[in-house]
Symmetry: C2
DNA sequence: TTGTAAGCGTTATCAC
DNA sequence: GTGATAACGCTTACAA
């Protein structure tokens, strides 16, 4: 491994000078700069980030904590974050929490131990002490907190829209998948939907789920049609669940959207590719990731940015699992 | 931030002693150990990994390089890697290469600058100089190399199986999606399929694709049915492409699998949930990730492990997009 | 304009 | 058993 000393020796100057040209601060004569740059190139030297980080007490690393990258919604968030960070030369230490508080705490700890400059987390425990104690910038992603800036979508509004669309498009026996109780966006969506359903006086049933795993989604989908065979509309807790419901409905020989309408949430890439394609409440996941990264970078660069959160708009995407309204068919 | 010095002062001993109890090496009296442990707990001290890393010239970090986490196949690999690393207290620095050599090289460089102990990469350029020069363990994942250990699936065999199944189940006008030329597994699959197709003398057409993006998959799917309307069987380059083909076929009013059979590769989680569910050549992605991590850990722990690669078995998964054979329907 | 040296938080060597 | 202390590779006062 070639160090700054090697370069210094090779170039016939002191390490301080090397450091100066590297960081472009302090005076350095044009001639010596050239010599140094040549030496750096010839020795193929790149500075050791660890040593830098130790001295400065901050690295070029960002901690990113997601529930489960295996859920197709999160890779998009992650890409948004990464692409923006890339531009600023920041890298990611990454971990899946599986929504376990312990795992989450462990990751946060190693993030800190590695001198990350900031943490972006999609957590179910934004109020926890181990977050409060952090002295570095934290941005919550797809989650809300009163202590810290956050980037999230308007789940409540999404729920409302889903319910309205269901009703406008003719469903009268609606099942709502509630999603895990501890996942805030899931509950927001649920509440938004129920709000409208109650106001409108439409009959609805609630199916509680404990997780966002595909396995559970499949089980709940089966149960749903056993418990409530009359259902003619399903508001799922996310697209994966919606696709599971769609699959089960078709398996049972139901016609979609004629017999039963389905609306998901997120608009994951494959939603468009199932058949019929899935109507859904779109959350701009990639952009949310980007925004979170943007916010983080602001926070890093000048820490007097006021606590500001960003709510992203949601949007109904009409596709094949909901019926066409009269005025749309014109 | 509380450092080892603070703990030393608080416990009334030297930093050396703290270090000894931390690392459980060297002699330390039972009594002082207790005092130190108490101090550590009370001050809530955790050692700074950066300082450790600087001294030891190796961190507890692994670099993980994937083409694009947004492709549903890769999150599974990533989870496999992560879960195994977790067990050994190793963390991941993560990057998407987008199959760009430049981005890849940049990531490798920052991995090295951060003293990672090893690199796991799903790269299209395993032979590149910047890999050869690395002095730390490298494991290639879902890719093959003669220089370094690798964990990969038998794509060639997968391609053969796909073609055999297509033929056995009655397709006679087969289209094969070739996949990007620079992606080794895609070419292996393609060659395997063509091998069988040629041997059998069945008519087949080739559709070349340049990337694994969903966008392109959709475009190619449309083109396919325009160029070769008689096609009654499609071997896709991966499940995403297969699902795009399925979607297009249904849109055109074709019956699947009666009019046209489709086989994908990978068995991503959603393959089971499209309708009809997708027949595919399964690659055990999660396990591959785990194996790669396992291999890496061996390499780290004793570097005299002989260069060994692991080929994982592939397997045909019969689902809804291929017809049932006579003997299966019994 | 450049060099010397202290210090970032650890670990490991060597005295005691 | 325990404590000083050099060293890891870098940055930044401060001197020269």
């Amino acid at each position: 491994m070639v160090t700054i000393k090697d370069v210094a020796k090779y170039a016939g100057v002191s390490v301080a000078t090397i450091s100066r040209v590297l960081n472009e601060n302090g005076y350095v004569h044009e001639d010596t700069r050239r010599v140094v740059e040549k030496a750096i190139k010839e020795l193929n030297y790149t500075p050791n980030e660890v040593a830098r980080s130790l001295y400065k007490r901050k690295s070029r690393l960002i901690g990113l904590l997601l529930p489960d990258i295996t859920n197709p919604y999160f890779p998009q968030l992650a890409r948004g974050v990464e692409d923006r960070m890339q531009q600023s030369g920041l890298r990611l230490i990454f971990g899946n929490s599986d929504e376990s508080q312990q795992k989450e705490q462990d990751y946060i700890q190693t993030f800190v131990q590695n001198n990350v400059v900031g943490i972006i987390a999609s957590t179910n425990f934004p109020g926890m002490d181990f977050y409060r104690r952090l002295k570095i910038p934290v941005v919550f992603l797809d989650r809300i907190s009163s202590d810290r800036p956050a980037v999230y979508a308007d789940g409540r509004e999404g729920g409302r829209i889903a319910a309205q669309q269901m009703i406008e498009r003719g469903s009268r026996q609606i099942a709502v998948l509630q999603g895990p109780a501890h996942v805030r966006p899931a509950q927001d969506r649920f509440q938004g939907a129920v709000e409208v359903l109650q106001d409108t006086g439409v009959t609805y049933e609630v199916v509680q789920t404990d997780s966002f795993t595909l396995d559970e989604a499949q089980r709940r989908a089966e149960e749903l049609f056993v418990s409530f065979p009359e259902t003619d509309g399903v508001i799922a807790s996310n697209d994966m669940a919606a696709i599971a419901v769609l699959h089960e409905a078709l398996r049972l020989g139901k016609k979609v959207p004629e017999d039963i309408q389905i609306i998901g949430f997120d608009d994951i890439p494959l939603s468009e590719l199932v058949s019929p394609s899935l109507s859904t409440i779109r959350q701009p996941a990639y952009d949310m990731g980007k925004q979170a990264a943007e916010l983080m970078i602001q926070l890093i660069e000048n820490d007097d940015v006021e606590l500001k959160s960003i709510q992203m708009p949601v949007q109904f995407i009409q596709r094949g699992t909901t019926r066409i309204k009269a005025e749309e068919s014109i």
